[in-house]
């Protein structure tokens, strides 16, 4: 197992460096002047020159790449051209907010979707299953943006029950101190995720229920409840593990729609606005972070698979 992990980490480092270099080159191949796009249409030649000299943009591309790589290996992701703040500082502000929002909504969604999926699979094609399927299909197909606007329009604007914006505190503790403001963004993300997870779970449980080993379990006298929650759930959960692992890099993209509607300053909008502004340091930093999270997510998913399914063993055990 250790050797497997070491090999995977080594591969991950190579992948991440490759992503970084490729992204660096592609970003710098964009046409136009970064300095002018940041400084505006009135930027004088001297101001453009100062900007380029300050950020090393007047150097050959290979030298810029070398400097950036060296900088990253010293833990410095650079300074945002537009926001004039260290990229690491901006990430440190935005990422915990997204981890909190996406993390809690995902956990809530799983807590609801997993039993729901099992229930629907067991009661499949019945009235309850059909009603729940209709609801989840509706949530699944509805654009998140539209759903969020509906929630705000009803609960905040019409009824004045809840505030239309997410907590504006910059710390997680501060956000938790304003639970009413968390309701709408959490509900938006949770409900739309329930739809997807419950459908996956339902399909997976239906597959598992057809397995022969369950017949053996029942023949051995295990009650149906134990069959479902000890054997079916665990084995049906494996595809969800893969999905969860692949969703970890999504933290870098944040929940841009929710951030847009609920005034939530997370990674999604940070990245989006940086892309519009040609704010290279943020784009590069976010891509690097995304690469790291992708390999971490995949690795975590593989390890979880091994834990959940004893039949899966890795190099060290072969």
């Amino acid at each position: 197992m250790i050797a497997y992990l070491i090999r995977r980490v080594g591969q991950a480092v190579v992948v991440v460096i490759g992503v970084m270099i490729l992204t660096f080159i592609l970003i710098h191949m964009e046409p136009g002047s970064v300095a002018r796009s940041i400084l505006g249409i009135r930027a004088t030649t001297s101001r453009v020159a100062i900007f380029n000299a300050t950020y090393g943009l007047d150097q050959p591309l290979y030298k810029q790449l070398w400097n950036y790589t060296d900088q990253v290996f010293h833990g410095n992701l650079g300074q945002s051209f537009y926001q004039q703040q260290q990229v690491s500082t901006l990430f440190a502000q935005a990422l915990p907010r997204d981890i909190f929002l996406l993390g809690t909504s995902t956990v809530l969604a799983l807590l609801i979707a997993l039993p729901l999926g099992v229930y629907q699979a067991v009661k499949r094609n019945g009235l309850a299953d059909n009603l729940l399927s209709g609801t989840t299909f509706t949530l699944y197909t509805m654009p998140t943006f539209f759903f969020a606007m509906l929630m705000v329009g009803l609960f905040a604007v019409q009824l004045h029950w809840l505030p239309p914006t997410a907590p504006q505190a910059t710390s997680v503790a501060g956000m938790l101190a304003d639970p009413r403001a968390l309701v709408l963004p959490e509900a938006t993300l949770t409900l739309t995720q329930i739809a997807g997870f419950s459908r996956y779970m339902r399909s997976s449980v239906i597959d598992t229920l057809a397995q022969d080993y369950l017949r053996v379990c029942r023949a051995k006298g295990l009650g149906e409840r134990l069959v479902l929650w000890r054997h079916v759930l665990r084995n049906s959960f494996l595809p969800i593990v893969t999905i969860l692992g692949l969703s970890i890099p999504g933290l870098v993209g944040g929940a841009i729609v929710v951030e847009d509607i609920f005034n939530y300053q997370g990674m999604g909008l940070l990245f989006y606005q940086a892309a519009l502004r040609h704010d290279f340091p943020i784009l590069l930093g976010a891509t690097l972070l995304g690469g790291v999270l992708t390999v971490i997510g995949n690795l975590a998913a593989d390890i979880a698979y091994g834990i959940l399914d004893p039949r899966v063993r890795y190099a060290a055990d072969k």
């Binding site: 136009g32 002018r36 249409i41 009135r42 001297s46 051209f81 703040q85 606007m149 604007v157 005034n263």
Partner: protein, 610 residues
């Protein structure tokens, strides 16, 4: 090279809305500037908190002298309430210098308008120390040390054109310039961006170092400004750093979050007559227009912008206790033609009659009424109608090019074109003689252009599509190309006779949106031959001469002559300029008429009413 200072004008124009917006006028639109359904008229109360919305604005620098690499116009919103400029622009909706909030009591020009004599008001800093001429010389020394690395630097202007600064007394400043200027131009467009900085508190080179007179030599000034800029960029200490507690404006900064939301409280020692009535002013940052408008609709904020696409919600907002202000911002809007576009297109756009034909086909009144619902300046020329004392009768009457498809067709035919409505008109009589197509226009040349514009605003999309349709009436084919604003700015280069590389000068027509003006809206930087904002390389010796006169001549007729000439010359194709609509709680007095030159619309004169 002459430029236009953006500075506070940009900050003001960017107030409240992330989308481009500009001035309105009283006569050109069906909604008069400053009009609203209900204005608070009761007795003013002391106290209360106002929450004002800003979209996409994240201040990141508190020290008023920013480096050249910092372009965040919202920093002015943060700085100006604490350290107002020497010359305060805008007075309750009027495009004039504000005598109450300016820091000087008298300013005279002598020595053939080469010497400025300024008498400061006997005001004090918040720590009780008197504001003196030493503070001005301190500011001047720091700006001089920054040189081109100052965000407010204008080549050839302050401090380049300053021969010397003298301080004969603690309240008088004498600035000797290297040449004569039009006092209005220099006061309104140059001095207005100069703050006074507290020498007694800031003239130091380190946090623990003592205050001295370090600024009085070049190395010391450099050390001081480097120290202050470093401190000024440390967001975490904006509210705790003792440097920033010494202010001369009506407000103190009491809270600043990393999200960009900050709170101001009154400076109890403010010397000016407009002492704040409010207990607190919260500038709340929003990620997008959607988030801000949702909060506005829910009634959770005191004052906020209404996006153009939500104008239909005005009646709902009024039913929820809001009044609506038609905010005039000082700017102009137009399409830049590129005189150096390749493949003969530049030669076409150099022809005044071609620009005239295109302008004749832009139905500006319909854009104002149908797209902006009346909330826009008509764009009759370079000066918006809210500059009531500066707009000429020509502009007030609709400008030299009212909508007239027949005139467009006639002028093209008169210059050797076969006009094909619905198709593409072609040049059939090339040459430079009278009635011919003009220099550089080949036989068979087509009136077909690509118009690039900033994406993301539904009103702009609609306007450009309408223009495209109207131009077809004279066989002028426009291909529309929308791009994100920053991409547009990055790829559309500055093109002039000296330099027009194909890589950045292959564009043909571009619409960036509005362009903010300073208090004195001269065309310097926009329409003169070497202007840094003259995107398409328009060049006309008479225009250069007229603009020079607006800067250097005191003749009252100079501006009028420039304005009418520019209106007719079409260095840009004039477009209407949408207003910014502001919703505010009806019991908040003093909001109207708003000051479009003030970064945050002068909240010191606001108050809740009983």
């Amino acid at each position: 090279m002459r430029v236009i200072r953006t500075g506070a004008a940009v900050a003001a124009a960017l107030t409240l809305a992330a989308t481009a917006a500009a001035c309105s006028s009283s006569s050109g639109s069906s909604h008069s500037a400053g009009g609203s359904s209900t204005q608070a008229t009761g007795a003013p109360e002391s106290g209360g908190t106002v929450t004002m919305q800003w979209v996409g604005g994240y201040p990141n620098f508190i020290f008023p002298l920013m480096p050249a690499t910092n372009t965040d116009g919202y920093n002015g919103n943060l700085q100006l309430p604490l350290w107002p400029d020497l010359v305060y622009a805008g007075d309750r909706g009027q495009s004039v210098v504000n005598p109450d909030e300016s820091l000087y009591s008298a300013m005279t020009w002598t020595n053939n308008d080469q010497t400025i004599n300024i008498t400061l008001k006997p005001w004090k800093w918040s720590d009780g120390t008197a504001i003196t001429s030493r503070d001005f010389s301190f500011t001047y020394n720091l700006i001089k040390s920054l040189g081109q690395n100052w965000s407010g630097y204008l080549p050839g202007l302050f401090p380049d054109d300053v021969k010397s600064v003298q301080t004969p007394s603690t309240s008088t400043i004498v600035i000797n310039l290297t040449r004569s200027y039009n006092p209005t131009f220099y006061t309104d467009n140059v001095l207005y961006a100069i703050p006074l900085l507290p020498q007694h508190a800031w003239d130091k080179e380190s946090t623990t170092g003592a205050v001295g007179n370090y600024d009085q030599n070049a190395a010391g000034a450099k050390a001081v400004v480097n120290f202050l800029q470093k401190q000024g960029s440390d967001i975490a200490t904006f509210t705790t750093n003792p440097l920033w507690k010494v202010v001369d404006g009506p407000w103190h900064l009491s809270e600043f979050t990393s999200s960009g939301t900050y709170a101001l409280v009154p400076n109890k020692n403010y010397s000016g007559p407009d002492k704040p009535h409010l207990a607190e002013m919260v500038d709340a940052q929003y990620t997008t227009n959607d988030a801000a408008f949702n909060d506005l609709r829910a009634g959770d904020v005191t004052i906020g912008p209404i996006p153009g696409e939500d104008i239909s919600q005005i009646s709902y907002l009024k039913s929820e206790g809001y009044s609506v202000q038609d905010l005039t911002t000082a700017a102009e809007a137009g399409i830049y033609p590129n005189w150096f576009a390749p493949n003969g297109v530049g030669a076409l756009l150099k022809q005044l009659y071609v620009r005239q034909a295109i302008e004749d086909l832009i139905n500006r009144p319909q854009i104002v009424s149908q797209i902006y619902h009346g909330y826009a300046d008509p764009g009759n020329g370079p000066i918006s109608l809210n500059y009531t004392t500066l707009t000429t009768p020509l502009e007030k009457s609709g400008g030299p090019y009212p909508y007239s498809p027949s005139k467009a067709v006639a002028v093209l035919k008169a210059n050797g074109w076969k006009v094909t409505p619905g198709g593409v008109s072609t040049c059939t009589d090339p040459g430079t003689g009278s009635g011919q197509c003009g220099a550089g226009v080949a036989a068979g040349a087509k009136l077909a252009f690509t118009l690039a514009y900033s994406a993301g605003d539904p009103d702009t999309d609609e306007m450009e599509a309408a223009i495209q349709t109207w131009e077809e009436q004279a066989g002028i084919k426009l291909t529309l190309k929308s791009e994100p604003f920053n991409t547009l700015v990055g790829t559309v280069g500055l093109c002039d006779q000296q330099s027009h590389p194909t890589s950045t000068c292959s564009w043909q027509l571009v619409d960036f949106g509005y362009d903010p003006y300073s208090l004195y809206p001269s065309g310097a930087g926009l329409f003169n031959t070497d202007g840094s904002g003259n995107q398409g390389g328009y060049s006309n010796p008479q225009m250069d001469s007229l603009i020079n006169q607006t800067e250097y001549s005191s003749s009252p007729a100079a501006f009028t002559q420039y304005e009418d000439f520019a209106a007719a010359q079409l260095p840009q194709l004039w477009l209407p300029d949408p207003d910014v609509l502001l919703a505010y709680k009806s019991n908040l007095a003093g909001v109207e008429p708003a000051n479009s030159f003030s970064a945050d619309n002068d909240p010191e004169i606001w108050s809740f009413t009983k």
